[in-house]
Structures are given as C-alpha cells and as structure tokens.
C-alpha cells in the first residue's frame, strides 16, 4: 500500500533543511465557503501545491444509528432524509423498501412506478446541484443559478407529494400516503416538456468549454483499481470506467422494466465525473418518461393495515382504524426476527441499509452504508500533488454531502 504519511512525503520531496521555511500548513475548513459543508482539511503546502492532506470529519455527527434503536420503523424515515439531503426521496424510499423486505410486503406495481419517478427526479435534482456547483467552483456561476431554478421545480413536485421540499419524509412503508395530485401531474408534464432544452443549454455552457475542460481534465483522477479498493460506487466509480449500477445489477422497484444505459468514463477525473452525471440526467429523464407513460392504474399502497396508517377520517369514525392507528404510532406491531441488507442506487452511489431485527418495536441494530463516507477517505490521495484550486473542484465533483458523511 502507498505510504501517504507526511514524513514519507517530506523525505521524498527534498531534504528537511532545504524545505525549512518554504512549507506551510493551511486549514481548509471546517467551515469554508469552497467546501460546501463542514469538514476540515489540514493541508501541507509548498506554494500552491499540496504535499499532504489530512481530513477530519464528524463535525455534524448526529448519532442516527443510535437514535434509530429507539424509534419505530416509520419514524426512522425522517432520519434518512437528513443524510443526503440533496436527494432525500431516494433515502426515504430505500429505507421503506428495506423494511418491506424484512416484513415481506409486496407493493402494487403503481407504487413501484411512482417510486421510480420520484427517485429519478431526486437523482436529477442531486446531479444538477453537483454539476452546477462544480461549474461554479471552476469559475462559472451562471449554470448554477439556472439549474437552481430547475431544482426548484422538482421541489415543487415534492411539495405536492408530502408538503415538504428538502427533508421530504416521502412515502410510507407499503407505498404512499396519497396518490399523485392533479397539480403534480401538471408540474411533471411541464417539467418533462421544458427541462430538456434548458438542461441542454447548461450542457452547452460547460461540456465543451475550453476553460472548464482545462480546469477539470486530469484533476483529482483515481484509477478504477484504487476506486474499487476504496469501495467507490455510483457516478464516482463509473467515471473511472466500471459500469456498476445497483439499478441494473440488482433491480428493485421495477427498474428492470425500463430501458436505459449506464454511462461510464475512462479517466476517473473531475471532468469524467461531471460528464457521467450529465449523461445520467438524460438517462433519468428517459426512465421517468417510460414510467410516467406506462404508470399502472390501481392502489397507491399495499394492503398492510399493521404498518400503513389508516385515513385520518376513518380514525375518528371506525374502531378498527383507531386501533391500527394507535398500534402503528406506538410502534406496537410485531416484525419478524432477522437481518436484511438492502441497497439502492442513491444520488451518490450504493446506499445500503443493514437492519437487524429481534422482533421488537425498533431495530436492534441499523447501519447505513453511506457512499460519501467511503469517497471522502480517498480525497487526500486524489489531491496530493495537485494545486489547491484543483482540490476544490475535485471535492465538489465527488459530491461529498456532509450530512451523509457524518450521519
């Protein structure tokens, strides 16, 4: 394994006497406007060049795994959407699918398709922000401001489903709280009609932009072999040339019904990561179009009264509904004993939920496999030897979200 220790790098660099007085330490963070989150990097610099980097995390650690051990299964949804808050619905739905797998709930086809539409909208929103901010970090703020408008339109759609915009609490165990509203249909149709042209314009702004390409090609590159050794998944792994995607490798929520490709890069550098995300947005649009065109009729939730909250009006009028409501809210419904691992393709990569149940009201143990936590470990290796401006665009193109990193 490569020795990345500071003493080793200094030994390679020059003799200690020669470099005395030339090196300095730069604290990039914990809160720095260019890092878009709370994490610290202690950089040893030789002029503009980074000789060594050491990162510190945990500044916003909120003990979600511990808290989960005292919450019933539906209450944990609100913890998941605070991890990668740029694509909260994927986290929510991924968690619901994990619980459904444990309990053995089969959801109607309509729920699967509704979930696919929302998860792909979330992926588009996530990638738009990541790519917009990558452009901004390379000096082009225009793209970000325009892409924020598009993300707002996606958030307007979330609002129609659950009332919230960012920390969404989307859906329920077994399906959705209510069906898509007429306003949602209107917003989605409008989005599908107008977004492609606007997004193409964003692509024109950066994809072949000489300055942007010079800034990003070769910056923060990682080979496929190293990426796999670190445990990379998602766009960051695909940028290095490995066509692994959970949606294809292990289809969930009817992803096998849709026709789409897995974009891959070759160099694993910042430009490839940017381009993979760009192409994934087009693929996501393709999936949404297919799912929306073929949206099956039928119920929007599974028939699981033990886990799915009854209609509020029924709770006031029907004894059955009142009993179920009470049991669910108090977390009194039995679940099977067992352990389950379920993975979804999050905005960032493989988001895994390892759930151990002892048959109690709450998980005995819940562990989140958070892709950001995996990526950020490789960050010093990716920026050592580069200049500091490359380090900024590299971090952004890896889409490190502090909420998911620290959980």
């Amino acid at each position: 394994m490569k020795d990345n220790s500071l003493s080793n790098i200094l030994n390679q660099h020059e003799s200690k006497e020669q470099i005395d007085g030339q090196l300095y330490t730069l604290n990039l963070g914990p809160t720095h406007p260019a890092t878009h989150g709370i994490f610290q990097n202690v950089l040893t610099m030789d002029g503009e060049r980074i000789l060594h980097a050491e990162q510190t995390v945990g500044y916003i650690h909120r003990a979600f795994e511990k808290i989960s051990e005292r919450r019933n299964f539906s209450q944990i949804t609100t913890l998941t959407d605070r991890m990668n808050y740029c694509s909260a619905p994927i986290n929510n739905i991924g968690w619901h699918m994990t619980v459904e797998k444990l309990i053995g709930i089969k959801v109607p086809k309509r729920v699967d398709y509704m979930r696919v539409i929302l998860m792909e909208l979330a992926r588009i929103g996530d990638h738009l922000i990541c790519n917009g901010v990558t452009g901004m970090d390379a000096g082009a703020i225009t793209g970000l401001t325009y892409m924020f408008i598009e993300r707002e339109r996606i958030y307007d759609m979330y609002e129609q489903i659950c009332g919230a915009r960012m920390t969404t609490n989307m859906g329920r165990i077994g399906g959705f709280e209510r069906d898509f509203t007429p306003k949602f249909h209107e917003l989605l149709k409008d989005f599908l009609k107008t977004f492609p042209a606007r997004f193409a314009e964003f692509g024109q702004l950066l994809e072949r932009n000489r300055i942007f390409m010079d800034r990003t090609i070769g910056a923060g590159a990682i080979s496929a072999e190293r990426a796999l050794s670190y445990g990379f998944t998602g766009p960051n792994l695909r940028a290095a040339g490995v066509d692994y995607d959970v949606r294809v490798a292990e289809p969930y929520s009817s992803y096998e019904d849709f026709d789409f490709i897995i974009p891959v890069g070759t160099a694993g550098d910042t430009y490839d990561r940017f381009m993979v995300r760009q192409q994934e947005i087009w693929e996501s649009l393709k999936i949404i179009n297919q799912a929306y065109d073929n949206l099956p009729e039928g119920p929007f939730h599974a028939d699981v009264p033990d886990f799915y909250l009854p209609e509020k009006a029924d709770v006031y009028q029907k004894m059955e509904a009142l009993i179920y409501h009470f049991k669910i809210v108090m977390g009194e419904t039995d679940v099977p004993k067992g352990e389950v691992y379920h993975a979804v393709e999050g905005g960032n990569g493989e988001l895994g939920f390892y759930l151990v149940s002892d048959g109690g009201r709450t998980p005995y143990r819940l562990h989140f496999r958070r892709p950001c936590f995996i990526y950020y470990q490789a960050y010093p290796e990716m920026i050592t030897g580069s200049v500091i401006s490359d380090a900024i665009v590299t971090m952004c193109s890896m889409n490190i979200i502090a909420g998911e990193l620290d959980a």
């Binding site: 808290i67 005292r70 919450r71 445990g231 691992y341 895994g352 143990r365």
Partner: protein, 164 residues
C-alpha cells in the same frame, strides 16, 4: 454463483473456520472464527470466486451472550455476478481484537475506525486506529447497549410504553 457453491468452497478451504451458516433473506451469512477472518476474506478476494469488493463493515453488540458479546459484520460482493455474502465474527468483551483488513482494502481503514469508535473493537495492524465521528477524548464507545440514548439519571420520563 449460488449460496451453496460459495459456502461449499469456503467450507472446503477452511473446514475448521466455519461455525455456522444461514440464508437470511436470500443472502448467504456465515459465522466464522474470529482469528480466521482475514485469511478467508483474502481467499474470497483472490480466488476464482472474485468476491473482491468490500461493501461494508460494522459492529453489533449482544450483551446477553458474554462469549459472543461483540460482533463484526462484513458485507462483501462480487460485482460481476452481483453475488453478496455476509461474514460475521463474534468475541467476548475481554478479547475485542481482530485482524485489520487495511492491507487488503484501502476502504477498510475508515470502516474499521468507525467500528472502533462505536464499539471499541481493536483492529490489529490498523495504521491509525482513532475515533472518527466522535471526538477523540470521548472515552467510551457509545453504540454499546449499556449507554442509553438519553440521560439515564432522568426520572421524569417513563419509557415503559415506548422504545427499548
């Protein structure tokens, strides 16, 4: 690649190491002896099974089983065939020490640091075993079951009706 095939391969290569096996929700789960974990994972990585992706490492605590009180759960994967396997090891509270996988996987570094941080499991050979998400002078490992989520000295809350 099937669960039976992989289990048979592991049992054939390491007949003394396998303690038990099961298929929990379709995923092959093998409990193995603590001291053999590194060589088995090395074998899975380098053999023709090609289970060479370390998906996840995490700890678990069962206070009611003193001999098997602390556990480490490894999730591994063969990306080509999308075969997943779960390996588990258990140890008593007195001997919470296991070989580190950092020589095999670069990513094991932080995963093991996180497991150490929350459960106090020491990974032999780890280059930098420090807490990662909690502060370094915290002095205890908060995911162990003896630490309650809330202040245990409070008397104004009755948890009998909810939670654990």
């Amino acid at each position: 690649m099937t669960n039976e095939f992989v289990l048979e391969a592991i049992t054939r290569e390491f007949p003394e190491s396998v303690i038990s096996s099961s298929e929990s929700y379709g995923m092959l789960t093998v409990e193995i002896k603590k001291d053999d974990i590194k060589k088995i994972i090395h074998y899975l990585k380098d053999s023709s099974l090609e289970i060479n992706f370390l998906t996840d490492v995490c700890g678990i605590h069962y206070p009611e089983f003193p001999e098997k009180e602390i556990g480490v759960v490894y999730h591994l994967q063969n990306m080509m065939t999308n075969f997943r396997i779960r390996l588990k090891i258990f140890m008593s509270r007195e001997s919470v020490e296991v070989d580190s996988l950092t020589e095999l996987y670069a990513g094991a570094n932080w995963m093991e640091r996180e497991t150490f941080d929350f459960y106090g499991i020491k990974f032999k050979g780890h280059p930098d075993l420090r807490p990662i998400l909690n502060m370094e002078d915290l002095g205890y490992h908060p995911m162990l079951k003896e630490y309650r989520l809330e202040d245990g000295t409070r008397t104004d809350k009755d948890d009998a009706m909810f939670g654990r």
